[in-house]
Amino acid sequence: MQTFLNALFTGGSRGAIYALVALGLVLVWRGAGLINFAQMGQAMFSAYVASTLIAQGYNYWIAFFVALIVGAALGAAIDILVIRPLKKKSGTAILGSPSMRDAIPVIASLGILGILQSVAGMIWAGSERGFPAPVSTVALKVGGNTMPFTYFDLFTIGIVILILIATSLFLARTSVGLAMRASALNSEVARLSGIRTRSIRTLGWVISGAVASVAGLLVTPATNISPNSLDLILIIGFTACVIGGLDSLLGSVIGGFLLGFVIAFISVYDIPEDIFIAIFLILMGIMFFRPQGLFGSEVGRRV
């Protein structure tokens, strides 16, 4: 029983991180129609900034908010400096061909990931570092019994649920959220309605960058940060949002938690080497039986 609960709560707190990564990917996907592989680069970069600030004696929460701003600013910079100019260059044979038009920004995002990793390596000399969690990482005690989870686990899961609710409400209930959905669904009709789709798209990058930074900050106390340390999390987070259905915020979060549990249970009851086989099988299963993902909307549903 103790082992089971252990796996459950480890899975929950790891799953929360994957959920955040997936949430960030979905936000860019819905706003700009691409998978932003640079996202974990942004997260890693802002985690380094936070760790530097904390090492210099700043308060955790100051470092936290500075890191959010760094992540958001990197998101805006990627859109304005890379993605927008790429969109304009559609005159050449490669950039103008329909099959490459969607692929090129994704390839560019991989390039940006590489750049962010090398720049972080140059600045912080590739050294691993970490910083303490904002709340206790010692197992909780209730009435003398040691619980299989810590305050930090609860904190992580709480933040994910908070961000899910906040981003969902923002998209569904606010005018800016409506503008974001409209620009993503049909940018021509959105522009004809007076919506400044370019700025709205940048806003999607900003929000997603901030969400990714939170993921980077929450994972750092568990695994120290190094330029490449978040690569694996990105891959699992990406799988999570494909499982959930690329355009669903709730789906991506559920996909994240699902993978968290799968990974935790396999490492407890089986051997860790099987983790990737399991993830792969789940992904293939979803692709075969429900290609739009658990919560995604079907393409081609338009009447």
Binding site: L178, A179, L185, E188, V189, L192, S193, G194, R302
Partner: protein, 237 residues
């Protein structure tokens, strides 16, 4: 007043609109008719800023607007209900309407609310279906929705691209009547692009006939309607 001056537009190396000039008077309905491929839709897309012209000018109330971004053209008082009853299927009816007024929300929240309820008065069927997804609407309802979305931006010039396309005659009549009431009662300037020349000329004050990207006739609608040789040559009936 909308003045088109020597406007040429080409894309994919095809000259879609070739040196055209005409004027749409304030508070009147001007219709641009012509067969498929005459350049009508290209003309509207150029006016609303989706396509940049190769040469020539478009001036609206004395201000040159060619090459401006679509989102700024809307702010200058020109709204388009695009071809194919374009609405966003995944959004609700109310969201589609609100979308057209988002840019005015910060400056004039009360008027946005008023504009939305006015469009419900104009098309009560939209109010009945306001929380439905726009994708579930019929073609006629979508056209009403596209027009409502354009109207809540409080335009002075309304651009309509083939509102009759694929709709039952009764619905076409209802939509066209509404547009002409808007024009007569509120002083809205209308530029109506139609393939269905009869319907368009029946309500328009002025008619412009396009063929292969050129203006071949520019005269009062009644006169164009009566000219059988023009109709036979360019409209095929």
């Amino acid at each position: 007043m909308l003045q088109i001056n020597n406007l040429s537009v080409s894309y994919d190396s095809v000259q879609a609109v070739n040196q055209i000039s005409f004027t749409a008077q304030k508070g009147r309905i001007t219709t641009v008719i012509g067969a498929n491929g005459a350049g009508k839709t290209t003309l509207l897309r150029t006016i609303s800023g989706l396509i940049a012209p190769k040469s020539g000018t478009i001036s609206w109330s004395g201000r040159e607007i060619q090459g401006m971004r679509p989102e700024n053209i809307v702010r200058a008082g020109i709204a388009q209900a695009p071809e194919g009853h374009s609405v966003i299927a995944e959004l609700t009816v109310e969201e589609n309407i609100r979308m057209g007024a988002l840019f005015r929300l910060r400056t004039n929240r009360a008027d946005v609310r008023a504009a939305i309820s006015e469009s419900y008065e104009l098309f009560p069927r939209l109010e009945e279906r306001k929380s439905q997804k726009a994708g579930t609407l019929s073609g006629g309802e979508r056209q009403m929705l596209a027009i409502s979305r354009a109207l809540v931006s409080r335009p002075e010039l309304l651009l309509l691209d083939e509102p009759s396309l694929g709709l039952a005659p009764l619905i076409v009549e209802q939509i066209i009547d509404t547009v002409s009431i808007l024009c007569r009662e509120k002083g809205l300037t209308v530029l109506l692009v139609e393939q269905n020349a009869n319907t368009a000329l029946a309500i328009a004050d002025h008619g412009v006939l396009l063929a292969l990207g050129k203006v071949v006739a520019d005269m009062p609608a009644a006169q164009l309607r009566a000219d059988e040789s023009l109709r036979a040559a360019y409209l095929g009936y």
